[in-house]
Assembly symmetry: C2
Homo-oligomer: 327 residues x 2
């Protein structure tokens, strides 16, 4: 495979953003930032054997997810994703048609947001495919949905349902038996093709103040990050945690609790805001048919994260979510 030839094959045949001055094909890409917008940028890598297995996910699904996890980070800053760059380290075991499928998976998602591929790098590697995606977004200058923004008395909220992604992975790994094909596909899809919560992120950006995280490492871990950064405590109610009917149908209840609290990779948004702003946000989400749930409160009366069980017992939630080094 020739590098120049490959690049010509992945080069998009249309550009969505008129602000792009130079796309793929020169030393670097050039774009004009929108007037009065801050730039928001993040990068994440996905490694074969660590973040995905060729036996469980198609190249297209792998591509989709590698872009989705980065768009999710942009959403967690209340921003709009606009551009992306892809650097891919390729072992000889991957065929060109598989690599092109990876880029198609990204393109599928990019088109939804009118995002342009601005560049990247293709290099060879010995063993494991590694995809690194950089995403650039834009946000209004007054918007900073920082983890440190939580205040005493804030409502803690979460979008969508949580725990599905980990359950989907368990299904994929044959650790959980599930008969209903529709339910099975739902959970697997939630793991393979997470939907970044850009729309609700933009609604949260309109609030006077909010703290916000995307759920990549598990609900407990993300709540700990907000509590630590804000130097406050958080208490959530088990009974309020939003869980899909598909997940509830699974028999292994111990695992369900683990998935909901520590599972990660749901790429929903979790955050806090004042009682007044919560009312405003809930109404805006209802109008747009976006599921968002109040799950607890921020407090200055303790640090860390507490969980009130359905039996009213209060337990301390450890941070122990996903941490790539410790796996």
């Amino acid at each position: 495979m020739d590098e120049f030839d490959f690049i010509s094959k992945i080069k998009p045949n249309r550009i969505f953003q008129e602000n792009v001055k130079v796309a793929i094909g020169d030393d670097a890409a050039v774009y004009e930032p929108s007037v009065h917008k801050n730039q928001v940028v993040c990068v994440d890598s996905m490694v074969e054997g660590v973040h995905f297995l060729k036996t469980l996910s198609s190249p297209r699904e792998i591509g989709y997810k590698s872009l989705a996890v980065n768009i999710s980070d942009i959403a967690a800053m209340g921003a709009n994703p606009i551009y992306y760059l892809v650097s891919i380290a390729i072992p000889s075991s991957w065929e060109e048609h598989e690599l092109l499928e990876i880029f198609k998976g990204m393109q599928e998602l990019a088109e939804m947001y009118q995002m342009d591929l601005l560049g990247g790098d293709t290099v060879s590697t010995a063993d494991k495919l590694t995809i690194t995606v950089t995403v650039i977004g834009e946000v209004e200058p007054n918007v900073l949905t920082l983890r440190s923004n939580a205040r005493d008395g804030d409502i803690v909220f979460v979008t969508g349902n949580i725990g599905d992604s980990s359950a989907g992975l368990a299904v994929l790994l044959d650790q959980v038996a599930i008969e209903d094909k529709k339910n099975k596909n739902y959970l697997i899809n939630r793991h393979k093709k997470p939907i970044p919560q850009v729309k609700v992120g933009r609604l949260i950006a309109k609030l006077e103040r909010a703290s916000l995280n995307d759920i990549s490492d598990g609900l407990a871990s993300e709540l700990h990050e907000i509590a630590d950064a804000s130097q406050l405590g958080i208490e959530i109610n088990e009974i309020d945690l939003p869980v899909s009917s598909e997940l509830l149908l699974l028999k292994n209840f111990n695992d369900i609790n683990k998935w909901i609290l520590f599972g990660g990779e749901d790429f929903e948004l979790v955050g806090t805001t004042s009682i007044e702003s919560w009312t405003e946000l809930k109404q805006a989400c209802d109008e747009q048919m976006i599921k968002i749930t109040k799950i607890g409160l921020v407090t200055c009366s303790h640090s860390g994260v507490l969980l009130k069980r359905e039996n009213q017992e209060v337990i301390k939630l450890e941070k122990s979510g996903y941490n790539h080094f410790n796996r």
Copy 2:
């Protein structure tokens, strides 16, 4: 090693750019773009065993170079590098102190340009260390030093000396014997610690029009890219090619020619501009003690790249430079 703990160790203790609103520590970084500046962005990966060997380069040198190659791409757009992000896939064979040295090597270079580390990702991998660096720069809106900007009659120029980096690699690999320690260190250093040509890139950005490439894949390959993109031909003179005295001292003359024309990784700049602009550029470079050399002309009388030998023989230069897939 704990990921959160590691990130706290690589987090810079100062921020150079006052436009940074959120640096490392949230879901994504946020910065305010400078008024009336376009944003310039690129990404490159370096893979252990392909781009560097732990036996030949220190972690600090590996870090330095992984940032340098990206700054060089920004320089080739006439832009100023300002921000960088680093994603690193780490096998268990690398110790934490080595990883911290990689980041110190980047920091050494970043401080020269007052660049801020805005974020990144740390993931584990099975086998080979992979460093992916994203660099963001800024440039005036009227500046586009594209490969397609060459015009018939343009002067072809190159900065600094070429061929040193490949010679340095040959020395490192014991393919070339070299006695003088100072000369040996010079060539090795040119391979390990290339200096991105930001300063001269900024001078070129002031010209009315210029085509520009950085020499990552070898002089012949970069000239082909300019000739192809501009749909013109280029003829260079062997006698004019700028070569260091250290390189000339090496006895193996066949390899010297190969290194100069096809070696790559010198990270000098090569480009073309009008005769009038060349006079202006040469004078500006002379004033700042920057070496820049006229090496040939752009022509519409043929396509591709020709080399006039010292004996006046004219030969066709193939593109065959560095191409990671084909190695």
